[in-house]
Symmetry: C2
Subunit: 341 residues, 2 copies
DNA sequence: ACCAAAATAGTTATCGTTAACATAATGACG
DNA sequence: CGTCATTATGTTAACGATAACTATTTTGGT
């Protein structure tokens, strides 16, 4: 077996030379459908394999001015909800040989801006942004760009382009309605500080709005620490709550993780759920289904957001410049479980 | 404001033309450090901004034959452990303006192979594979490739290149030792079926090996369904276990999620943990810290795997062809909590 | 056997940036 | 005031695949 001492990169022309055909013919063999003799193609592909040829997408992309990249920014892939979205988006786009360019903003608009600049240099064919909060410069960059821009996980008032999202506000306010319908009146909201978690802010706003609509006290807002908040903060938050408002009979948490933490703390303090305190979460994480008692929650269909975004992008890439910005509103579902009466 | 009806892409030469300099000078202005007059650079950058220029990484990559891509395959970003690895890897590489190309194998070696082919076409500068199980062709492709290959999350016997991982086997076997040390003898293992979860297989092997070493019965192996298994399967698995081996006094689960499901089911059935049954998890997920009782578990330092892999890659890219394949072994930590005596 | 249509292959120039080399301007110094 | 660094810029030719065009064969219908 001949091992070339200096591994010069094999290119299409080399394969062509070895078979007495032109580079163009080799290119056709790799494209799949173009008019090329089946025998020629087979020979080319075989020779390519033999020479250890690897197609160079960089050169192809430059010439075709199509990259097959789709850029996506997420606050954090570590969040189970966002990762479900990323997974289903990736899954569907992967099938069409589109490549995800993933970037984590760490909940920081300045970092988002830096990343967007980097991502745009790669000439993606679409950009997906999780959330509606962007720096001025990010907005400017993205309105000038000639590719589809999709904001997901929110319903921004001034969208940059297309939207696939749901109303954090309305869904949380529906949850309040349910609590009130079942007789609870002294409700509290437990969530992260407002700094850089726009979804938390919206959910809190939904809580306040619904409480005021019912003529109830909307001031029991417990800060659980800076976003992203989790179980630990939920447990600590419950202590804060009961210190300050011991007669609370319903607790709405910004996420299932927080609610689970609160639940665990209830158990330790001997607070009965839901008899003494009804507790709800948000996001329909697996944990809420399995804990005791199981959590009433909102299913935002995180995976569906990903797959519908993928469908939208695939459509837009097929039929370019297809008129106005689309707005896909996902309906979150209220899931009733035993943590509320 | 003049809106060009046909937005022809602005390139370096256009900026140069507008300022009476050559494209090369513009290129130098964007490179940062090269010998170029400060005033000239400022003018160029300003003009670039004015014209809405976006640097074309595709062309640059082709010319330089460096892409700044790092490819990584993961069974599923949805798994909290893998996503912690991805996050810390991304975080560190992002800072150096390396771009992650993420691909989900869905625990399927055939899909992994397909994705590797796609990824290699993008000319990444390094490839990271989660796990040691690869198809024959994948192995062939990756041994011929001229870039660093890193396998993580395992210690493969025949590594393809570098390794950053830990021993699932040894760590699980250490957990058995602990159970035995604290007086438990009738131990069972609860995990997914073996088909395509090599890490689960290793953990099970560690269980069996340790049990045999102690001269104990190693046959209580409960299948919890096909990987990836979660809380739901854990709960169902506990029922299976107690039906078959009611006198079991220690249960080792393949993950914290499974252990939590089992724990919840114990509570429903009135089984006291740890008095009647000691339970342990694996992976140190947040849930194990907060549930009641908190779970004894193994912390595999998932985030650390990501950051050490990032460091390794950065080193290798700086000092290319730096001799032999490196093997970084991470020491998992045994975390004792109240679910075991 | 003849010709149009279809199938197959080749040529050339290009996508936008940048390495490598060439050139021009500036200054330092004996 | 010439000589040699030093700094700043320009010129040319790639990187590798492929669109657009042209050229050559096959095919099939009459």
């Amino acid at each position: 077996m001949k091992t070339p001492s200096v591994k010069r990169k094999v290119k299409m022309a080399d394969i062509g030379a070895a078979l007495g055909v032109s580079a163009m013919t080799v290119s056709r063999a790799f494209k799949g459908d173009a008019g090329i003799n089946a025998r020629t193609r087979a020979a080319i592909l075989a020779k390519a394999d033999e020479l250890g040829y690897v197609f160079d997408a960089t050169a192809s992309n430059l010439r075709k001015s199509r990259t097959g990249f789709v850029a996506i920014t997420v606050p954090s892939v570590e969040n189970a909800n966002f990762s479900a979205t990323v997974r289903d988006l990736t899954k569907r786009l992967q099938k069409k040989n589109l490549q995800i360019l993933l970037a984590n903003t760490e909940y920081d608009p300045a970092e988002e801006e830096r990343l967007i600049v980097q991502l745009l240099r790669r000439k993606p064919e679409a950009v997906v942004l999780t959330g509606a909060q962007h720096s001025q410069r990010t907005r400017a960059l993205l309105t000038n760009v000639q590719i589809p821009v999709v904001e997901i996980w929110d319903l921004p008032e001034q969208p940059l382009g297309h939207v696939v999202g749901f109303s954090n506000r309305t869904s949380m306010s529906g949850l309040v309605d349910h609590m009130v319908r079942t007789g609870r009146r002294r409700l509290a909201f437990l969530g992260g500080e407002t700094a850089n978690d726009p979804r938390g802010v919206q959910r809190r706003a939904g809580f306040v709005e619904a409480m005021e609509r019912h003529g109830l006290d909307a001031t029991r807002l417990i800060p659980a620490g800076s976003a992203p908040v989790g179980m630990t903060e939920g447990a600590a938050g419950l202590d804060l709550l009961l210190d300050q408002y011991p007669d609370t009979d319903g607790l709405l948490c910004v996420s299932d993780l927080v609610a689970f933490g609160a639940l665990a703390q209830c158990k330790r303090r001997g607070v009965r759920v839901p008899e003494d305190l009804a507790v709800s979460g948000y996001g329909n994480y697996e944990i809420g289904r399995v804990c005791e008692p199981p959590l009433t929650t909102i299913d935002v269909h995180a995976g569906q957001i990903g797959s519908r975004t993928a469908d939208l992008i695939l459509d837009l890439l097929d039929a370019p410049a297809e008129g106005a910005a689309q707005r896909h509103v996902i309906q979150p579902d209220l899931i009733l479980r035993r943590s509320t009466p």
